[in-house]
Amino acid sequence: MNPSLSYSLLFVAAALFSIGLAVVITKRHAVVVLMGIELMLNAVNLNLVAFSQYDPSRLQGQVFSLFVMIVAAAEAAVALALIIQVYRHVKTVVLDELTDLKQ
């Protein structure tokens, strides 16, 4: 296995993770924040698959990335339901405008 290939994959994964992090921190629209979170999770998947080529039993990292995908799908379903529920009340999903809980 070519180690330089794996290094470049790690850089891509780190970049993806950072972009996701930046999106979560800077964007105020709930759906966009959700997209940022998905980006972070996919960066993890890339990392897991990249590292699994050094694993003697090979499959562990790839199996883990399957778990991550399944859980991310379940999370997205719950998140969209919550976003719709909030939208019904206040007709907005911009997080800065949701200030009902602040005292």
Partner: protein, 485 residues
């Protein structure tokens, strides 16, 4: 290693809870809701008994995925007991037209499966799956009061923060996998031991370890990752706040204890300073901010942050003694928190006055959970006053209650490591804690109020009394519990 058939049979609590969750969903098709509560309690009792069947033995299940030993059984017992109490306080759900009790109970049982996985995980896959089962269930339950905007808003904020934390946790796991080539805790621990002896760069390992720890500290709401807690605990229905602040915290600390003691004990010198700083921050922020709260429920949110700080002391002083200390502390904390929320729910429900004055629901939710709601409670309702007073004393760590021994054990675990300055901060902050816990006691016993006699359902009453008696019994005879581990 071959797959053995008894593996499946022995991992009983997880299987039983999953099946009974599905059974509850089917029971929900019935018109009558009267059966749901007793059925849930029955399932929890069965799971509780099944949990302790393997007492005294140590098993590794499903090809090194889950470990079951005495400590894991005790933590599982604590979360099952907490859930039993929370569920038995949920009688009013059956009368609420908009509530879906069958679904709530099923989700509670499913989330317990996640908690049990977090308690006994040996493979990081199980940690991740457990954390997610528990968290996703909590997002839903936080938003379960669908008509209330505050509940929905809390759920959305909880989700965004929780999923963000999961992302960080996962990246940490991925980096640890890259550094060590293993997801198994003991494999990671072996790497940590051998790599520190061999020298060389462990950058990937350390970065992964800290990201994993940050993700977990988010989940147990330790400062500076606590900012979501007050809003979420305040917005969620009180019943599920009680569940969140006990079961999720117990499971989170059991998971942290496991990973720190098995995988990262070899690099203790590297992480203990960081954890000590987090502990001090958590204690300071949790206790000092709690003083300024006007709402009892919000005070309980900050109190749960401060208790995360005390539990973290047990982790900083990581030793053999900190395992029973953290288990005992979780039990003491869970008992008093659930009893306090039980009284709060009764008091809040019995104040219809504000609804007429203010009309809309948000104002209602706020005024009903203020300290003022407790004014004069103990005159007409001596039992509720006593239950609340004992739980407040226990949370404040006054002697003769379980909370005192919890703090004592955690502190002595840290003192053995020589972290005296940490204890000084902790003791000072407990003194601050006495101030805001006693505000409730003073309001109940010494203030004038117009509280009427509150009708308490018999079973509700029994659970409150049992929690109080257990708190006092553990305070008088802490060896009852210590002898078990």
């Amino acid at each position: 290693m071959t797959f053995q058939t008894y593996d499946c049979l022995q991992m009983l609590p997880i299987i039983l809870l999953s099946l009974s969750g599905i059974a509850l969903l089917f029971l929900g098709f019935q018109k009558s809701r009267a059966l749901l509560l007793p059925a849930t309690l029955l399932f929890l009792v069965i799971a509780f008994v099944a949990n302790f069947l393997d007492w005294g033995k140590t098993y590794m299940y499903f090809r090194d995925m889950l470990l079951v030993n005495n400590l894991a059984m005790i933590f599982t017992g604590v979360v099952l007991l907490s859930t039993f109490m929370v569920v038995s306080l949920s009688g009013s759900l059956a009368d609420d037209e908009d509530a879906q009790p069958a679904e709530y109970y099923a989700i509670l049982l499913f989330s317990l499966v996640g908690a049990i996985m977090m308690i006994g995980f040996e493979n990081l896959i199980m940690l991740f799956v457990g954390v997610e089962i528990l968290s996703v269930a909590m997002y839903i339950l936080t938003g379960s009061d669908k008509r209330n905007l505050r509940s929905n808003e809390a759920a959305l904020k909880y989700f965004l923060m929780g999923a963000f934390a999961t992302g960080i946790l996962l990246f940490g796991i991925a980096l640890l996998y890259g550094a060590t080539g293993s997801f198994v805790l003991s494999g990671i621990g072996n790497y940590a031991h051998s790599a520190t002896n061999a020298g060389g760069s462990m950058l990937l390992f350390y970065v992964g370890m800290f990201m994993l720890l940050i993700g977990m500290l988010f989940k147990v709401s330790a400062a500076p990752f606590h900012f979501w807690t007050p809003d979420v605990y305040d917005g969620a229905p009180s019943l599920f706040t009680a569940y969140m602040s006990t079961v999720v915290k117990t499971a989170g600390f059991a998971a942290l204890l496991r990973i720190l003691s098995v995988s990262f004990s070899g690099v203790y010198d590297f992480w203990w300073v960081a954890m000590a700083v987090v502990t001090v921050l958590t204690l300071l922020i949790g206790n000092i901010t709690a003083v300024y709260q006007a709402s009892f429920k919000r005070m309980m949110a900050y109190s749960s942050i401060s208790h995360a700080g005390y539990l973290l002391i047990g982790l900083v002083g990581l030793s053999q003694a900190s395992k029973p200390a953290i288990a005992f502390y979780s039990l003491a904390y869970s008992l008093s928190t659930i009893a306090a929320f039980g009284v709060l729910m009764l008091v809040a429900r019995n104040r219809p006055l504000n609804a007429a004055v203010f009309g809309d629901q948000t104002t209602l939710a706020r005024t009903d959970e203020h300290y003022d709601a407790f004014n004069g409670l103990a005159r007409k309702n001596p039992l509720l006053g006593f239950v609340m007073a004992v739980s407040m004393l226990s949370l404040a760590g006054i002697p003769l209650t379980a909370g005192f021994w919890g703090k004592f054990m955690v502190f002595s675990a840290a003192a053995d490591r020589g972290a005296v300055w940490l204890l000084v901060v902790a003791v000072l902050m407990s003194a601050v804690g006495i101030y805001y816990y006693f505000r409730v006691v003073i309001a109940m016993y010494f203030r004038e109020g117009q509280t009427d006699t509150i009708r308490v359902a018999p079973f509700y009453r029994i659970v409150l009394i049992a929690a109080t008696v257990l708190t006092l019994a553990l305070g008088l005879l802490p060896n009852l519990f210590q002898g078990l581990i």
